[in-house]
């Protein structure tokens, strides 16, 4: 049972992969955009930060669920 709980928590944390890919794509596009239009840096940074916050949320949910699994199924 203990091992299965650990496996479940591990699977929940896999959401981090999606967030990583998402933030990576967003950052690469932002870098491209800034290279093309350095004067729009401020606006691009704001949009990037918003996108990162939303993409990162999925990873955070995975982490919170993993912690909850460990805490409540123990």
């Amino acid at each position: 049972m203990e091992a299965l709980i650990a496996v479940g928590a591990g699977i929940a944390v896999l959401t981090g992969a999606g967030a990583g890919i998402g933030i990576g794509i967003a950052t690469s596009k932002a870098a491209e955009a800034i290279a093309r239009q350095p004067e729009a840096k401020g606006d691009i940074n704001k949009a990037l930060l918003l996108g990162c916050a939303l993409a990162e949320a999925t990873a955070i949910y995975g982490f919170v669920i993993a912690v909850l699994i460990i805490l409540f199924l123990k």
Binding site: L49, E56, A57, I60, Y61, F63
Partner: protein
């Protein structure tokens, strides 16, 4: 390792500092006591900073004006001039979350590590978001805004009232908790020097970014509520 795991688990729970012995005992959580400490600190700071203000700023007043001006223009950039009246509340929230996130550096448990604190902040945010919509468009216009862009997706718009605070609350809580757990693990492996480098990232940088994101998202949601006709 077993001992460390149980130690970590006990630190994850929100603890009760003391109990007020009236009405059968009111438990006061540690996060509340630390919040009182932050409040005291901020009140004293405000008292000291606003002493003898001058027309032509010098010294500490320059920093004060720069900070207040930054918060005001940050709010006004997104909400427009009319949104400036929301700046004091949002600035207060930003200062509180910022200080409590960075407190981990001093070895004090950040209050934002308690889910109840972030839930409270998120509920206040959603009330402000809906209030700003009602204030701008009137109760009728606010109700009508749920049927935008088409009446079919009204249920999703109503659901958003619950999803938005949940995601605000979980984002802040999860980030602070995650940083805390990672820092504890690093301290277990390397007790000296190395944690300092990681502490810079996890406690200071991540804490401030999350503060910014919390206020920024609240502002964006407010703008959305106030915007389309």
């Amino acid at each position: 390792m077993e001992e460390f795991a149980s130690d970590l688990m006990s630190q994850l729970e929100s603890k009760v500092s003391f109990v007020i012995p009236i009405f059968g005992g009111i438990p006061i959580a540690t996060s509340v006591v630390i919040t009182w400490g932050i409040m005291l600190f901020l009140v004293i700071l405000a008292k000291v900073m606003v002493r003898d203000l001058k027309m032509v700023p010098t010294g500490k007043q320059l920093y004060l004006e720069a900070a207040v001006g930054w918060i005001n223009s940050f709010v006004a950039d997104i909400l427009g001039e009319e949104g400036r009246k929301y700046a004091p509340y949002l600035g207060t929230v930003a200062i509180y979350i910022g200080i409590s996130n960075v407190m981990g550096v001093l070895g004090i448990t950040p209050p934002t590590k308690d889910l109840n604190v972030t839930a409270g902040l998120a509920i206040m945010s959603i009330i402000l978001i809906e209030y700003s919509g009602i204030r701008k468009k009137g109760a009728k216009g606010w109700l009508k805004s749920f049927a935008e862009p088409m009446p079919l997706i009204a249920p999703i718009n109503v659901l958003e009232i619950f999803i938005r605070p949940l995601s605000l609350c979980m984002r802040l809580f999860g980030n602070v908790l995650g940083a805390f757990v990672v820092m504890e693990l690093i301290k277990l492996i390397a007790p000296a020097i190395i944690p300092v480098v990681f502490s810079l990232y996890f406690d200071i940088f991540d804490g401030l970014i999350q503060t910014y994101v919390f206020v920024f998202l609240t502002l964006l949601f407010m703008k959305e509520k106030m915007e389309h006709e």
